[in-house]
Amino acid sequence: MSCRCDMIGETGLQFYGKITASMSHEIKNALAIINENAGLLEDFTLMADRGMPIDVGRLKTLAGKVIKQVQRTDGIVKTMNRFAHSIDESVKNVELDETLKFVATLSGRLAFVRGVTLEVEPGASPVTIATRSFFLENLVWLCLDFAMDATGGGKTIGLGAEQTENGARLKFTQLQGLSERTTSAFPGERETALLDALRAELAINVRAAEIVLILPRDIGQ
């Protein structure tokens, strides 16, 4: 296996591991909320057995909280499932706004912990390219990871896709923390390997406070 494939494989596995760990953590949190509220329901029934009056309104509220967390968990599992299927096809047509929204969802908990808000700015019309979906998601995630550190806490990162003559551009904006120092090590080996695999380029504009990923319309087979 070539060195570049090893790098891409390892990077992909790290991406996969971090995302599934983050989502399993979120599922644990949702289960914990269900556990405590179901536990409270149980406590109230035990108290009722001992003659204490039941507050029906309170029971309804608790039941509602349980239902809400079940729905939250279902959403997380659906996202995990979609992520798992990202690698089903090597090359396929991807709609870039959807890719950005999806990776923003995958990164949600990580962004929250870092105090960063991710805002996908929808384009005027869909932008579609033929590319390696999983590699693109991986690269977008790496760019977001870097951008979150570059922008600092309490900030917002804007994400957007634009059509170009030969393909498309993905922009990561509002990165006021970018400087020559912060960008000196980015892109690193992992990002460079993915850029090569996607036949993409990466441009960093410190003055405009943005990172731009330039992608071809059709990566070919």
């Binding site: 644990k28 914990a32 405590e36 409270l40 912990v113 870092r114």
Partner: protein, 119 residues
């Protein structure tokens, strides 16, 4: 005995505090780390139960800050990590052997609270 619970999931930590109070344990909760620091300045707590992973400040960092304000307070960590092994691998600097994995069994938590107070 007074317990302070800290977790960014408000629906979790408020329910847990209520369940402890039903069992006769004086428990307060906050969902923002900085509120925990403010709270211990105004009220004395014997034990703080801290979520490990929270926005803006980890449970471990919060413990360090609380130790400056309340030298005698004891700590229990609660983690959403997938397994106890994961927690130990990632939190070696926690400096406490008292931890539980979510979802927490209320009886296990009370047992840990009693264990730590008798330590």
């Amino acid at each position: 005995m007074r317990v302070l619970l800290v977790d960014d999931e408000e629906e979790l930590v408020s329910a847990l505090a209520e369940r402890l109070r039903i069992r006769g344990i004086d428990a307060d909760w906050v969902s923002i780390c900085y509120d925990a620091i403010g709270r211990v300045e105004s009220k004395k707590y014997d034990i703080a139960v801290l979520d490990v992973k929270m926005p803006k400040m980890s449970g471990i960092e919060l413990k360090r800050r609380l130790e400056e304000k309340c030298p005698g307070m004891k700590y229990i960590f609660v983690t959403g990590h997938g397994s106890e092994e994961d927690f130990l691998a990632g939190s070696a600097e926690a400096g406490t052997a008292y931890y539980l994995v979510k979802p927490v069994n209320i009886e296990d938590l009370i047992e840990k609270i009693n264990e730590i107070l008798n330590d």
